[in-house]
Symmetry: C2
Subunit: 204 residues, 2 copies
């Protein structure tokens, strides 16, 4: 049985954003069942958890003795069992991985740099300007396609849409009709909705 770690409770503003959502969503796309091992917020920093996750972060994925962390890597691992996440054809597969990495290395760091700054922080304007420029490039690359690599949803879209969801409290994505429709398209998938329900349902 697959087990993932998740929180039993977090502040309202990050509900639906904790990284186990990405893994739950991938498991739903793959049709794999799982159980969540729930941690009170703070317990991820304890030594027994850190022995499995050096940075004290959620989620961990465990199955038959295999222990993995980093939600992006876990999604890729699950993708090996789900052709809609990682296509079999070599080129399409490589481009799906490319968009996973782009989400995690070229978009998320700048989303987080902006999101972590309070409204009165003098660095916020610069972080927002950089982020808006980067997202305009992403929007241009998406163009009129429904998904980043064309007609098919892949693991790259799963990662990218969850990264863009971090900006839900701002107008940065919602003011771009293409990106906004893209996030809505991805998060309308039944697998996303089931994953979100499961994460929300696990919060007490």
């Amino acid at each position: 049985m697959i087990e993932i770690s998740a929180f039993s409770g977090v502040p309202q503003q990050i509900r639906g954003l904790v990284r186990d959502l990405r893994v739950r969503w991938a498991l739903e796309e793959a049709g794999l069942s799982y159980v969540a091992r729930l941690l009170p917020l703070g317990d991820q920093k304890k030594p027994e958890y850190r022995a499995l996750q050096p940075f004290g972060q959620v989620p961990i994925f465990q199955e038959d003795g295999l222990v993995l962390f980093e939600s992006g890597a876990i999604v890729l691992y699950i993708g090996e069992r789900c052709e809609s996440l990682l296509p079999r054809e070599t080129g399409a597969r490589a481009r799906a991985v490319q968009w996973v990495v782009a989400s995690l290395n070229s978009i998320e760091p700048f989303v987080m740099n902006f999101a972590m700054l309070d409204a009165d922080n003098p660095a916020r304007a610069g972080a927002e300007e950089f982020l808006r420029r980067r997202l305009a490039e992403l929007s241009e690359s998406l163009g009129d396609k429904p998904y980043l690599d064309g007609q098919r949803f892949t693991a790259g879209d799963l990662l990218m849409s969850t990264v863009l969801c971090i900006l839900r409290g701002t107008n940065i994505v919602s003011s771009d009709p293409r990106l906004s429709a893209y996030v809505q398209r991805c998060t309308a998938r039944p697998g996303y909705l089931r994953a979100l329900d499961a994460q929300m349902g696990d919060f007490h």
Copy 2:
């Protein structure tokens, strides 16, 4: 023939750090030959290049009509042809991917946040403190093992060591004997040295 994009010249302080080095290194590990398409610095922002790389970054990888960007994704793609980068055994392979993602999403963003701030920036002390804490966790996880997953060098070590090299002008890695020895161990590999020579040799 494999073609990668790289710069024909960059300032001294980033020579040996431009991301095509990661791809050159992976190609050396895999024993695959390639040619570099050299761009003057700035040309990566032109429309014809952006049509292939939406964020205007180096490198791009091209082979038989396949075009890929994101150095981490390209290293994973090359890893499919190189067992020392991506082991065949399922668990070892998943953990190698995990360390690739950890390098790109849990370490590099904080390395870059620190490295991009001038010495007199008031945010620098906080960025350094966060980074030192994160790297202490990495060092603890490495422990006495030669490589992140144990006895074998993988794509995860290729990525992590090149990320840590970004800090070469500071004492942040060099003051940690374990991480410092780890970076030296990785970058003593003949494949790294050939890749570094090739990048440096392409600067005019």
